[in-house]
Amino acid sequence: MIGFKHLKIWVGGIILVVLFVCGVASPLLAPHDPQAQTLEDRLRPPRWAENGSPAYLLGTDNLGRDILSRIIYGSRISLLVGAATVIFAGLIGCTLGAVAGYFGNVTDDIVSKISEIFLAFPFLLIAIAIMAFLGQGVVNLIMALMLSRWVQYCRVVRGEVLSIKERDFVTAVKALGGRDGYVLLRHVVPNTVASITVIATFAMAIVIISEASLSFLGLGVPAHIPTWGSMLSEGRSYINRAPWLTIFPGLAIFITVFGINLLGDGLRDIFDPKLRRQR
C-alpha cells in the first residue's frame, strides 16, 4: 500500500517535472520555430499517419506551423498561468474561508457577502474590466482569473470549517488551552486539505481553458504567443479535416491535469490526518 502511494507521487511528480523542463527549455527542445509558417506543408498529419512528413512529428496547423513546437512553447504560458492562478486563488480563498468559518458572526457575514458579490459578477465582465484598466499581459490575466476562482475555495473551506470546528477534538484542544490561531492552523485546516486538493486540480484545467477563451476574445496574452488554449480554439474550425490540431493540445492539458491529480492525491494521502492515522 505504501509503495502504491509513493508510486502516485512519483508518476505525478515526473509528469510535472517533464512539463516544467519543457516550459523552461523550450528553445532547446522545440524542433522548429513555433511562429515559422511553411505554407506548402500546411495541415500535414502526424508523422505516422498517411501523408505525414518526418520533419513534423505531430503534424502542422492551418498555417504550416509545427504543432509539437507550439505545444512545447505553449507549456510556458499555460503552466505559468495555471499554477500561479491556482496557488494564489487557493491562498486567498482558503485563508478567507477558514477565517470566516472559524470566527463566524460579523467576520463570516463580511467575507460571505464579498464572495457573493464576486459570484454575482459574470466572469467575463470582471476579466474585461481588469484588462481594460490594466492592459494586456500575463500578470493581469492571472489576476483576472484569480478574482473569479478564489470564491469556490472560500465557500468550500468555509463550509468544511463550520462543520469541523464543532467536533469533539476541536473542543478538546480548546479545553487544553489551544489558542484560536493554533487550533485553526494545526487542527482545523489540515482536515480540509482533501477537498482543497480536489478543487485545485479541477481549477487548474478550468483555468487553462479560461485562459484560452480570454485569449480568443483578445483579452489574454498577445495572439502571437502560442498557448494550449488558443491552439484548441484555433483548431476547432478544422476538427473534421485535421483533428490532430485539437487532439494534441487537448492531450497536453489532459496529461497536465492527470499529473497534478496523481500528485495531489498522493500528497493528500500523506497530509490528511484521517488517512495518516490508518497507516
Binding site: 463570516d108 457573493e116 454575482a120 469556490q152 465557500r155 463550509g159 462543520s163 464543532e166 467536533r167
Partner: protein
Amino acid sequence: MITIVTILGLQLGALLNGSVITETVFSYPGIGELLIQSISARDYKLTQVLILFFAVIYFVVNLLTDFLYSWIDPRIKF
C-alpha cells in the same frame, strides 16, 4: 457531504443565472439572451434589473446552502 452541498450550491447558482453565452449561441430565449439584447439595445433599466436578479439568485442559493448545512450536520450553528 458539506463539500458536496457547497459545490452543488455554486453550480446551481451558476446554472440558474442563465448561461449567457450558451443561450446567445443557440438563440434560446432565456435570461442570458435577454441580458445581451438589453445591453445591445442600451436598455439600462432592464440590464440593471437582470443583474440584480442574478445577484439575488446567488444570495438565495447561498442562504439555502447555509440552511442545508445545519440540517445535514446539526452541530453547525450560525
